[in-house]
Symmetry: C2
């Protein structure tokens, strides 16, 4: 497996693009994105667990119930959630996209992201869809990635090549997600494409399993969004024998999927609203995977720890505090904690109590932009990794006046 | 029942005080507090549910297991948590206080608050306890309240008078709490005193019931502290017939207790770290009390909503989002949301969807320093109230470099 260029267009037969259609006032920001497969593809998705769901979630769920999709359309600037005619608007988006591409409206994955509770104006989309379709290209991944961004500051795209039955396949993705991110099934918008041939059932299985360890382990602010969705289309154009059961090819697919989703997770956490630092919390020695995950997530979600990391302050007491209320079954008197970055590693707590350390060395380590919090529980063999970011002035600034 | 002056000294026979003993570097900040009852008192307490507990928690639990205490000692500046000899230090605090007051060490309630994971130096306390005891007075509540403060910006004290069997009794309290506050049993340090005669069993029952609707419904930052404790001493000096069962006197006691604790809750939330606004979330029409509480707490805990309130932005979509992931059983299509303050009330969402409203009027309402988020679920008769505060630049500033 190797990383390659191209994002969602790395896989054969996929084109993508993004335009400014007018949902956003800022004309320099693309607000409508499209991904199109030359042939119908196996499709799968996972959705937010929030009871309040965006209208596009319901429409997409119905559209890909048969395991087939050929394109995706997504706008930013308006979540099409908690408004009167949201489903009609989402269905209309599907029809408009399908007409432009001469496919069936039921083969469209639809998504929206942005402000909750305002009617989605359909005119900009109606006007924008034809030029958008005309602009699609096999190097349009970045335009699509920009089109789905909200408060994101960086494009998020990645792709890998892998081998199934000796055939080279490609799997890539784009993501948006910066705030309102918390572990609870899918926690952002992610569109994945692949040219491997794989049955819809195995595709859904692979995706559902994968998100448990990837997108479900990312938290920016503890708020689970109403519009989260991770979707994948696999069009089979690589020509491999269809993966329709477990085995070496399925494992290779899952490994590629995990590489792409893990990379996107790190990108999302690092670009968390206002974030200056990526925090990766790695827990080892947990009694069960559930305990290890609870522990890792609680640390990444702690506002106090996040603020301390922003200040490059090795306040490990907040790590212990978060472990203590995490709900994980553990013996707090056996816990070790270290901080690690490109500048080195420093042990700050052993067997649940502080050890002397150089505050100066700790500061040097914590001033890097990627910080690891390493925790050993000494309760078993289970491990887990969670991703988050620091809590900064800019998070407050961004969210203090989001709508204007 | 009426509000009266005096805090923890309002009840007959209680004296209090606070001094700077040297745990903190800042000599102008008192860091050691004491409350003393002229006679042994019925005692009860509730404690943090965090698995990581401060050493004083364990010592106090043992000391008041017999339902009796005569004094409380508490330092700020160091939590005496996650360090090697914490329990020895907490026991030593009890002995020092007991010696000064000529009571038994087992009749001392001990507490610490401040940085986690650093050894508690006992010398400042050993030197400070005698002058502290000598300084106790029946108007020393404010000094004690200052002695327990950490990042608090305001003293928190309150007292009421009530009648039991025709006898006037008094109940008062002091509290500290600003960060690391989240609903999960006691969530801060609170010392309550009362001169009513009440059995230890009824005192514990009243306190345990009360915190479910009061201190368990306050959140500043979602972090449950390691050192939380709410304690109460009732010395019987008012001369009422001992309350040893349910009835009118017990109800009067509970009502007074609720008035004091509710007032302290509002004070704590309003003085949350960096807070500029008190947020009170009132949920009505819940299917069960549990559902109403889950809903109210989720709204008060949402970082996104807290940041929006800081910005006086009527971003009610974030209220819906929080309700959706709260875990409460509800029909999100029947939810109404209004914002209210001293400047008026404005409806922003009805039946789960936005209604047109004046952004200008909303801004005027949200610029007040006490904001109510009113939610109607139309699912039943259950109600709940939660308290929180906005998320501001200062929260990040305070916690970015807490230890220095």
């Amino acid at each position: 497996m190797e990383h390659i260029q191209g994002g969602v267009c790395a896989a054969k037969g996929f084109m993508a693009g993004g335009v400014h259609c007018g949902i956003r006032k800022n004309k320099s920001k693309r607000d409508l994105a499209m991904i199109f497969s030359a042939v119908p593809a196996s499709a799968a998705a996972v959705y937010t667990t929030n009871l309040v769901k965006g209208a596009p979630i319901y429409v997409t769920q119905r559209n890909i119930a048969n395991g087939v999709a050929q394109m995706a359309i997504c706008n930013s600037g308006n979540a099409n959630t908690c408004n009167a005619d949201g489903e009609a608007a989402a269905l209309q988006m599907c029809r408009l996209a399908a007409e432009a591409a001469h496919v069936k409206p039921e083969d469209v994955i639809v998504a929206s992201t942005g402000v909750i509770g305002q009617p989605l104006p359909i005119e900009p989309i109606a006007n924008g869809v034809a030029p958008l379709f005309a602009s699609l290209s096999d190097h349009g991944s970045a335009e699509a990635a920009e089109g789905i961004m909200t408060t994101d500051t960086r494009l998020k795209e990645v792709a890998v090549a892998f081998t199934a039955s000796g055939i080279t396949c490609r799997l890539g993705g784009i993501a948006k997600g910066s705030g309102m991110i918390h572990p609870n099934l899918a926690t952002m918008l992610v569109f994945l494409t692949c040219d491997a041939a794989i049955s819809p059932a195995m595709l859904q299985k692979a995706l559902a399993e994968n998100v448990k360890d990837t997108f479900n382990m990312v938290s920016v602010d503890g708020d689970t969004s109403t519009n989260d969705m991770v979707s994948i289309m696999a069009n089979g154009m690589a020509g491999n024998p269809t993966i329709d059961g477990e085995g070496a090819d399925y494992n290779a697919f899952c490994e590629a999927l995990n590489e792409v989703t893990t990379t996107l997770c790190r990108m999302i956490a690092k670009d968390g609203e206002g974030a200056s630092r990526l925090i990766t919390c790695r827990v080892e020695g947990g009694k069960t995977v559930k305990d290890a995950k609870l522990a890792a997530k609680a640390v990444c979600c702690s506002s106090l720890l996040k603020a301390a990391i922003f200040g490059a302050d090795a306040n490990w007491g907040r790590v212990l505090c978060a472990l203590g209320y995490s709900g994980a079954d553990m013996d707090v008197h056996k816990v070790d904690v270290s901080f690690r970055s490109a500048m080195g590693i420093i042990s700050v707590c052993e067997m649940g109590a502080g050890v002397p350390f150089s505050e100066e060395d700790a500061k040097t380590i914590l001033l890097e932009d990627e910080i690891e919090v390493l925790i050993t529980l000494r309760d078993g063999d289970a491990c887990a990794t969670a991703w988050g970011c620091d809590l900064t002035y800019d998070y407050v600034k961004i969210n203090g006046d989001y709508r204007t």
